[in-house]
Symmetry: D2
Subunit: 258 residues, 4 copies
């Protein structure tokens, strides 16, 4: 049976500042990556977001980031593996407190922003993240860029992993994403998003910007939480994938059903 997860970063508001369209996206996705206070999110937002996801039956995961509120966790930082382990464990624990109080278990962890990108390429940082996740709860699924060091580290740590693909981003021939500052970073044709994801799930292949096909493992599709049309894209993906007979469900559900 073909299946895939739709995940979205959420709970990235902070104090007086709102961000994202969480309530509009929640009906269409199956995994919510909830910010944990270091790059965005605060205790009130975390409590509210966990409850909203739970009410919609969406799996709740932690979305830990670098301790850089001013830069929204998007600026690379020279942190050590020990510091990486510690900031992940702190944030996962903090979110788990809210999940536990709401009567739900965390299902997954997906690092945010620069931490995600650093861990995609750096095996030491990736191992630190995977170890923190496993030390907290070996039943958690670790989300990482498909083909990255983070997915490999999760497997080394004995965790379930979910290889993440991006619906609207172009890929280089080596499987990395075209950087955001290039004009071809995003798909030119919005109508191509759904068939592209269907092919990634069904055939495990996607066309790179070089024209050549690329093998890709697509366990979960990222729906960007801070774009203006995020709810529309999430809806198109959910309905388009299901119309193709692809089951849309959180990886944890798969693992438990497996």
């Amino acid at each position: 049976m073909e299946r895939v997860d739709l995940n979205c970063d959420m709970g990235e508001s902070f104090g007086a500042w709102s961000l994202g369209a969480d309530e509009a996206v929640l009906p269409w996705v199956t995994s919510a990556n909830v910010a944990c206070g270091f790059h965005g999110g605060d205790p009130a937002v975390m409590r509210r977001t966990v409850r909203s996801a739970l009410a919609r039956g969406v799996a709740v995961g932690a979305h830990p980031g670098l301790q850089d509120l001013a830069g929204f966790g998007r600026r690379a930082m020279g942190i050590s593996p020990d510091e990486t382990y510690e900031l992940v464990l702190y944030q996962v624990g903090a979110l788990a407190g809210f999940a536990h109080a709401a009567g739900v278990r965390l299902s997954h962890v997906k690092p945010h922003g620069a931490l995600y990108n650093m861990a995609a390429r750096n095996a030491s940082l990736a191992d630190a993240i995977a170890t923190a996740v496993r030390d907290f709860d070996p039943g958690l699924t670790l989300f990482g860029l498909a083909g990255s060091e983070l997915v490999a580290a999760g497997e080394r740590a004995g965790l379930l992993t979910a290889a993440e693909v991006f619906a609207d981003r172009n890929y280089e021939a080596d499987g990395s994403l075209v950087p955001r500052n290039r004009p071809d970073a995003l798909l030119a044709d919005a109508g191509a998003v759904v068939p592209r994801v269907v092919r990634m799930v069904r055939e495990g292949r996607v066309a790179s910007v070089s024209g050549a096909d690329l093998a890709v493992r697509a366990d979960t599709v990222c729906v960007h939480g801070d774009g203006p049309r995020v709810a529309e894209i999430a809806r198109a993906l959910r309905t388009g994938l299901e119309a193709e007979g692809i089951t849309v469900a959180a990886p944890g559900a798969r693992a438990h059903a497996g």
Copy 2:
């Protein structure tokens, strides 16, 4: 059997800055209140402090504070009960992550500084704290000033509570502490500390500054973590209490043994 706990605030270093004499105090106390990052402490300090306490057989508790690093959590803030609930749950969860990874359960929660003082007098804030603690884990013991609203709130929430007394502070006739800015805030005679605590434990009474005796419930004695002679005082209390035949042990141990 007479028994009492000796607790000390710990893990209040932050980044490049050191504070306290944790390693020197740990041999003598039975409960460690570990800072959780809002008023002091950081993920690296939390990890290290949990491990040190565990290695010494000292019970590990959370010491959540107001989000005021610059003021070390000592300045009162006008926070709502909801905000109080959320900041306690966040911090307890974060510390529990480190405890869980180290293979130990949290035993208690003691609010820090201004949060402790606000909760001693304000029943709404006290209830918010007690509810957060119970929602996280109803097996946790809540520490609060003896005779305060916080202890009452813990009992309303169905939690085990530990009434805290201060070894070297003077009391008003109403059971409150003489404010730190008064010349008689501290006991004049250091030699009086141990017999005073022995009497609090054994008779449930202590002399107030008015001269009149005060009834006091002494489940746990606070050893100040940031004073210069803290290790010396902790040692004197531990050996002095045990020489009197009083068992010195964490409240959780009592509860489990009860």
Copy 3:
């Protein structure tokens, strides 16, 4: 000649988070109170906001707040007069750097949120603020609630002061604002805003909720920066006041012209 200033809090975005409608409001106001990074604002926002105000010919002032980003500076804190002096001087200096680099001098200082409210009632904190402003630049105008301790402190410090009134808030008979949590905090009739301000400027009087008239000094009118219709209200006030023949200009301009 009758004249009044229209001021608006600005530059309260932070990092990835946007707040306010600064560009839409700037054409109508005469003083911009620019957040300085403690309750909102960051160095990039400060630089941009100073330039925007300068481009519109709007007077640039500092809007220092409590160091409480999570609470947007709206929660009272138990800070000392020394701490108050220091946080004001720090923030005014920081903003002055951007003003200086842009070739403009700061014209005024208006404390934000809880700091504004605390200084309205507490003479020691008000004196600390006024002293910091004077020590930085005795040519700055200090904005404070009309009739408050802050205006009195500014006068004691030898500063020019601007007594602030609120266009859409109701007043108690004693001159304080009806608290926001009361149903009658805001004027019921939006159409009453302009004639009400005209009367405050022209007659120095406003009707309180008790029905009785209140004497009020109206040097500057606050236009709320984070409401949805802020640009519309700013425009109505500017055009309405000018249609009545009232000059709308920053206090500094008055002082220089005086």
Copy 4:
């Protein structure tokens, strides 16, 4: 006439946490680099440190760092030139407020930690720093590693610059410092510190770890503020240099005298 400056990082305490031996070092140095709140320091510490330096006749400069309190500004961050400009201008302005209130002008700016190291190698970041300093006050002296991009950027911006050398660190043959994690990072022989600095000042040469001599411009010597023996080293340098007939004075004094 031979002359050189002795500078020391200062004011790096924060809130309840103390760091450094400022009062013990001040009698021996001629320039104080005062932390500005992003990596260390807070408004109270800044005020106090400016006053102490002024009382000792020591030149006051700004020591801006990355916004990373938890990492003490020592972890590299992927910031843009615009962000660099803004964080320097913000911090220099903030410190200038305290200097101005104390009746003294800032004399110099020396970036801290990772910002210093990034600017030593990256011309874009170095230009951003130099431009911020010049936009604030073209009379400020910019301190940077001798031979680095930061000194070159200061010269491009038309600033006075001070090339900094390190008394107790070993140099590579290319003029960079031996990294701290290498066993030969520090001079093995403490007694060699003074003659080594004398030679750097007098001959403009220093032996690298390869054995080969290196040309070096030594306008100012860094005395590490957080080492245990910092006051002792500062004293040895001051008295040793003066015994050799070398004038020890802040660069600003030289510039004014020139």
